[in-house]
Point group: C2
Amino acid sequence: MNVLEAIEKRRSYRGIYESTPVQREDLMKIVKAGVAAPSGCNMQTPSFIIVDDAEILRKLHELMPPHVGDTAPAAICVLSQRVSAKGQRCFATQDYSAAIENMLLAIVELGYQSCWLEGQVTDSEEINKAMARTLNVPDDYELVCLLPIGYGEGMPPVLRKKAFTDRVWVNTYGNSVGRASDR
Amino acid sequence: MNVLEAIEKRRSYRGIYESTPVQREDLMKIVKAGVAAPSGCNMQTPSFIIVDDAEILRKLHELMPPHVGDTAPAAICVLSQRVSAKGQRCFATQDYSAAIENMLLAIVELGYQSCWLEGQVTDSEEINKAMARTLNVPDDYELVCLLPIGYGEGMPPVLRKKAFTDRVWVNTYGNSVGRASDR
């Protein structure tokens, strides 16, 4: 599958997962995709914990809202360090977001489903902090996201999207693609 | 090129670009990759302006620090709207970062080079605001990034990266991949 195909195929999956385990080799490929993401001033602020131990997964999901990826046989937890880059700017959110997107595309490529679960764990600070404690994560990291990973029993829904022409212009705001490509 | 190959191949290119134009069709494929990125609660906060008009590109680069992608024959400017999603949380930074990463991978797939120029335009607020004025962008959008696009004359450097085992663990923080895979 080429990149453009994977990007179009990626969807947020919130259904039931098959119990078929995810190969450790595949989980490694997925985190390698995360590690390979760009980061502001190359600060490499995101880190990753692969979770495929059933008991640890169960403990994490007990802390989370019900029915969000709790049937998935594996997960990757994304940790972030708010380290300043040049000029005291911190690009940690951009860094982990790029890493997560890379991993979601790798997950598509390998035939699995996933969903970017961030608000579900960070809306109430206690959830991600409790998850971090479960994983023995030091205080200078923030657990910002959990990606459930596995084969989906069903298919993810196609979301309603804004019109392309309401989000893309050419050379000047408001100059829509159709008009501009006529030139 | 499959997804994992593109992810490994992507590098930030800060060199000189060839003058060969970028096909409009390719620029469309690249923004489609951006549009297809996930967004928090499907709020679709990023928008995009393709810039391939030489005069407008020149005006944008006049506002920017010198020698950052100013020889590229095209660019995509990324706009963001800080719209709140569920629970008053705003995921706009995550949204545009995922969209940018998608576009960078599409750029690799299509054989071009690019570089995520964000701090260069947002460190001093006046630069991105002046760029937005040049593109006639309304005040409720923030211009957050410019991606130069074109064929590179040279190759991007390989950056020094932290050790993989300093960024990836298995089932518990500190449980390194090598050790864990022995089980």
